[in-house]
Symmetry: C2
DNA sequence: ACGTCGTTTCGCCAATTAACGAAATGTAGA
DNA sequence: TCTACATTTCGTTAATTGGCGAAACGACGT
């Protein structure tokens, strides 16, 4: 029950579902997810931590950056099944589509993206 | 997204998961679910209404009694998929097993069960 | 060693939600 | 009609959760 409950709780938030939709495209760094979701960094960090504890995503650190990706086959069946279900539903979702478009734009800039996000931008 | 989110929210509560585990056995009346879960009638009624709005269960009225059963094939794919997933997980769950045992006992009494639940019991 | 910067943790506030009992609803039987 | 009773709705309270900014953390470059 614990696992199932944790999985469902993790998936019962719109921001977290959107994040999963983004990760479906490719592994992403926290700041890229932040940019698309338009939430405070600390908020998104918390969301990713919830998804991690539910074993829906995994992360790795590379220098100062934290990269997140969808869970692999070693995750509990509850997580894998629910993930598959959620991604299938997101595939047909309007908001998720818009997010994927926004992600494409973010991935193009990278340099300016970082700049705009920080207040010290001079562009 | 709305449907997916509603489904996941409905499934992210232990009492509601337990109720689904009971309904897997057979169609049940509200008071039987109340008896097994050990919660106030009004609380369980609210839970069942949440499950209904997420299209995870359906209900019918027969006289003063409200009967609930798991959703049929006409429910949204999100609901059906999540339901299948949750039930599979509950199959292996300790608490769910205990609930099924408790349900068997409740189904046997029926008369006395109703009696005990109401404060006017004289047994 | 020091400052910078991406991330995480912490503390707070607002919104949501589960729980209860009381009151309202609706149906069956006297 | 009046009463009894299963269920639902309402109002309140306590706990949980999402959101933010500030502070702490940790790694890189100077």
């Amino acid at each position: 029950m614990r696992t199932l409950l944790a999985t469902m709780k993790a998936l019962s938030d719109e921001s977290r579902l959107r994040a999963l939709g983004l990760l479906r495209e490719r592994e992403l760094c926290l700041c890229q997810i932040v940019e698309v979701l338009g939430l405070a960094t600390s908020t998104v960090s918390k969301h990713m931590s919830v998804l991690q504890q539910a074993r829906l995503v995994e992360s790795r650190k590379e220098g100062r950056w934290a990269y997140f990706r969808l869970a692999d086959d070693e995750a509990p069946t509850e997580a894998l099944g629910a993930l598959e279900l959620a991604l299938a539903s997101l595939d047909r979702d309007k908001q998720a589509k818009a997010d994927r478009r926004a992600l494409k734009a973010v991935l193009k800039m990278s340099a300016e993206e970082l700049c705009r996000k920080q207040a010290n931008c001079k562009c």
